[in-house]
Symmetry: C2
Subunit: 181 residues, 2 copies
């Protein structure tokens, strides 16, 4: 009953999304938090209904999401975040976010939600929780001549490093505890 | 600039979902609440990627939702609910809910969420907010020889009637205010 090394997880090539789903299942089963990834928004155009089998969607299109991917409840608080991966080793490109996602996060923050980004540097397998309020600073600055990315050094400084674990794989609620008021 | 009668709305034949979407947009624009309907969960099997146009989903199936349809934040609190319509004039059939939705609501209540059902009696165009904790009573009782539906009289007694309005069409957060601690 040995514990695999952190490197083993990196080798598996699992995506951030799959790792988060596993982590959210862990939190859900233990009634620590109820946090789900939202389904991909689809516009359905044509459906075949068969008598003897399940309905088959024959024509549909991807819609742009109007929110972030993850939300739910933890310790009585509303949680809202998005998870983003970057191959860059030096900075997180702000182009990973869309304006409407930032606007969504702004509204949730105003209403008292705990909002953040989970940023993964895939080359080094490092994950950081980065507060939405810090993200807004960089987002707004880029429109005023600021840079189009957040330096990794800044993320290391302002963010919260989340180390891979066995259960849950990404114990991001430990970092959430640190940003809760 | 006259206000249409309540009956006008009934005549439009709009569904509960469409009315709630309008109401949620109203609340969102005024930064009163951020509450969205989750997309329908779909399992995508085949996608055609065209160079010149949008990707087309050619084969996909409906997945069973593991949560309720609506969640979000209001006054700093996590909100979670489902919206259900019934053609019955005398009772709300519990078969409108699935076990996994009830389990989801139970977990959210435990963690401090504001959870409920919005129940619409379509024949009379009446909508009630019915607390999840009241719903659990009837849900559990049905497995112990209790009835398979909640009498409308009970819903009128324990629930909160929501009257159609112009903006928002379904001012359900007024009822939420009443069940907030
Ligand atoms: Mg995403
Ligand atoms: Mg529903």
């Amino acid at each position: 009953n040995h514990k695999p090394q952190i490197d083993n997880y990196a080798d598996r090539g699992m995506t951030l999304e799959a790792d988060l789903n596993q982590s959210n299942r862990y939190y859900l089963e233990r009634e620590i938090a109820v946090i789900h990834k939202k389904p991909t928004p689809i516009q359905i155009v044509k459906v075949d209904y068969h008598k003897r089998s399940a309905a088959v969607i024959k024509e549909a299109y991807f819609n742009r999401a109007s929110t972030t991917d993850y939300n739910g409840i933890y310790k009585g608080r509303y949680i809202d975040f998005d998870a983003k991966e970057t191959k860059s080793q030096t900075a997180f490109p702000l182009s990973n976010f869309h304006e409407h996602q930032i606007e969504h996060l702004r509204k949730c923050v105003k209403l008292g939600g705990i909002c953040f980004a989970l940023i993964k540097f895939v080359r080094t397998n490092e994950i950081f929780l980065f507060k939405a309020t810090d993200l807004f600073q960089f987002w707004d600055a880029q429109h005023n001549g600021g840079r189009k990315s957040i330096p990794k050094l800044t993320i290391q400084e302002l963010g919260y490093n989340i180390k891979y674990r066995l259960q849950p794989l990404i114990p991001y609620l430990d970092a959430v505890d640190q940003i809760m008021d």
